[in-house]
């Protein structure tokens, strides 16, 4: 009499257990389903990576010896064939020469006839050429005048260049200064850069950046893509995130010309070195 009561109790427990199992199964399944859709984009990238490493690991020594033996045999056969072919070729060549000599004789006769015709034509042409020469001389005079004008312009440019030479030398001294600022810019960008998951070592993208004298970024464009759009975009966003390069404001106050020349619009090779992949 106790047994059936216990059985009933057991049945209730197992039913509840089944319910709980089913509930958790459904929840886990739904979560995994949601996760699987998102993760599909991730799969192809590691595959590429693995392929690259495998190629380096491939070389095998023992196979080569066998191959070398086979190759030697093959080379010997080839040489024998080549010799045969050369003999055949020589015979053919001798035959050809005989034929060609015959042809040449026939052609000489034809040429002699053609020469007589040409001489008659040439006299008519000489008259026409004299007229053309007159026209050419006129053109040459005009060209000389233009060249003179150009020379004058160059002389003026040279004079202005001499004027600015002093500046130029000063600028060259400040080349290291410019480099320092470039390094500063690179650092600021990398500090504000979010590494996308797909970024790999050796990626680089060339950015064109426009600044105003306050150091404010007014424009960023990608000149040369790294091939990975996520990487390009992250670099571009890093520059936008920096927003303002404070040190460049000092530079533009100290030497506005240097700023105008080097930083108003400049190209930057964005190549983060410490990618861990």
């Amino acid at each position: 009499m106790r047994i059936s009561k216990d059985l009933k109790k057991w049945a209730v427990y197992s039913l509840a257990g089944l319910f709980s199992l089913a509930l958790h199964g459904v929840v886990v399944f739904l979560l995994l389903l949601g996760g699987a859709e998102k993760s599909t984009t991730q799969k192809p990238r590691p595959a590429n990576f693995v392929r690259a490493t495998l190629v380096q690991l491939q070389p095998k020594v023992p196979v080569r010896d066998q191959r070398a033996a086979k190759e030697k045999a093959a080379v010997a056969k080839k040489r024998a064939e080549q010799r045969r072919q050369e003999q055949v070729r020589k015979q053919k060549a001798a035959e050809r020469k005989q034929r060609e000599q015959k042809k040449q004789r026939a052609e000489k006769n034809r040429r002699d006839k053609a020469l007589k015709k040409k001489q008659a034509d040439a006299r008519a042409q000489q008259a026409a050429e004299q007229k053309q020469q007159v026209a050419r001389e006129q053109r040459a005079r005009e060209a000389e005048r233009q060249q003179e004008l150009q020379r004058e312009a160059r002389a003026q440019a040279l004079a202005s260049a001499l004027d600015s030479e002093d500046e130029f030398l000063a600028d060259e001294e400040s080349g290291s200064l410019v480099q320092g600022y470039q390094q500063y810019i690179q650092q600021r960008i990398i500090a504000n850069w979010n590494r996308p998951l797909s970024a790999r070592r050796g990626m680089e993208t060339i950015l064109s950046i426009q600044l105003v004298p306050t150091g404010q970024v007014v424009g960023v464009t990608v000149l040369k893509s790294s091939g990975n759009p996520a990487f390009d975009l992250s670099a571009q966003q890093a520059v936008k995130k920096v927003g303002r390069f404070d040190k460049l404001q000092q530079l533009s106050q100290q030497s506005p010309r240097l700023f105008e020349r080097s930083f108003r619009q400049f190209q930057l090779v964005f190549r983060p070195e410490d990618l861990r992949l």
Binding site: M1, R2, I3, S4, K5, K8, V12, Y13, L15, A16, G17, F19, S20, L21, L23, H24, V27, L31, L32, G34, G35, A36, K38, S39, T41, Q42, R45, I190, W193, N194, R195, P196, L197, S198, P229, A230, L233, S234, D274, R276
Partner: protein
């Protein structure tokens, strides 16, 4: 930017051992607590329905001796007697036993009957409240277990971060995400347990109250019978 999201499964598999252990514990806890919830729900419903049916027959004017015999038959048929009927049976049995010997003091009879019913009542209360402490402790403890897993996971991912030269969000994010799964699982186990505990505790309390009322009513009925004879 083409975002690459990590699947939940890879996060769980990639988690460190303590975090995985926490997740496993929480999964088991959640499953057991749902088992308890199912069982309790069924049992309390059964009890509520049984009480209504028994009260209906009791107040329908049926002979109490017949009602008692009916229960005995069902006991022999191994169908089982539960809930308020147990209170009635133990009280009635005691009452009959005491009134068999002539000359017993009516007050003593009533006292014995009441005591027997009180014992049955407390047994029934115990039955109503089984598993509820388990649900209560799941409700209060599993968020902490989950939190422990999360804290551990975040600790690990920050320790990993310390060795790197450049701290990007992409380095810590997977670790934190994986750690947060533990908290999510803790809450997943705790929330149903809290709701179920409150609901079932209230139901059990209400049922016990009704049993108690019935016991009082029955006592007064017997009291009338003792003092009228």
């Amino acid at each position: 930017m083409p975002e690459q999201q990590l699947s939940l499964l890879s996060l769980v598999i990639g988690a460190s051992v303590p975090v995985q252990l926490v997740m496993f514990i929480l999964l088991i806890t959640s499953m057991v607590s749902w088992l308890m919830i199912g069982q309790r729900w069924w049992y309390l419903r059964q009890m509520a329905v049984g009480f209504k049916v028994f009260e209906g027959t009791f107040w329908s004017g049926v002979d109490l001796n017949e009602l008692f015999r009916d229960g005995s038959v069902r006991l022999k048929d191994s169908a089982g007697v539960d809930g308020v009927e147990n209170v009635f049976r133990s009280g009635f049995r005691e009452f009959n036993r005491l009134t068999k010997n002539e000359g017993t003091d009516p007050d003593a009879v009533m006292e014995g009957t009441e005591r027997a019913m009180r014992v049955a009542l407390s047994r029934e209360e115990e039955k109503l409240n089984t598993h509820l402490p388990f649900l209560a402790s799941v409700a209060s403890v599993s968020p902490y277990i989950g939190l422990f897993g999360t804290v551990w996971g975040i600790m690990q991912s920050f320790r990993g971060l310390a060795t790197m030269q450049q701290a990007t969000l992409a380095v810590v994010a997977p670790g934190i995400s994986e750690a947060l799964i533990a908290t999510a699982m803790g809450l997943f186990a705790a929330i149903p347990a809290v709701v179920a505990y409150n609901r079932f505790a209230a139901d059990a309390d209400a049922l016990y109250g009704r049993y108690d009322t019935f016991a009082d009513e029955f006592t007064s009925l017997l009291h009338r019978r003792v003092h009228s004879s």
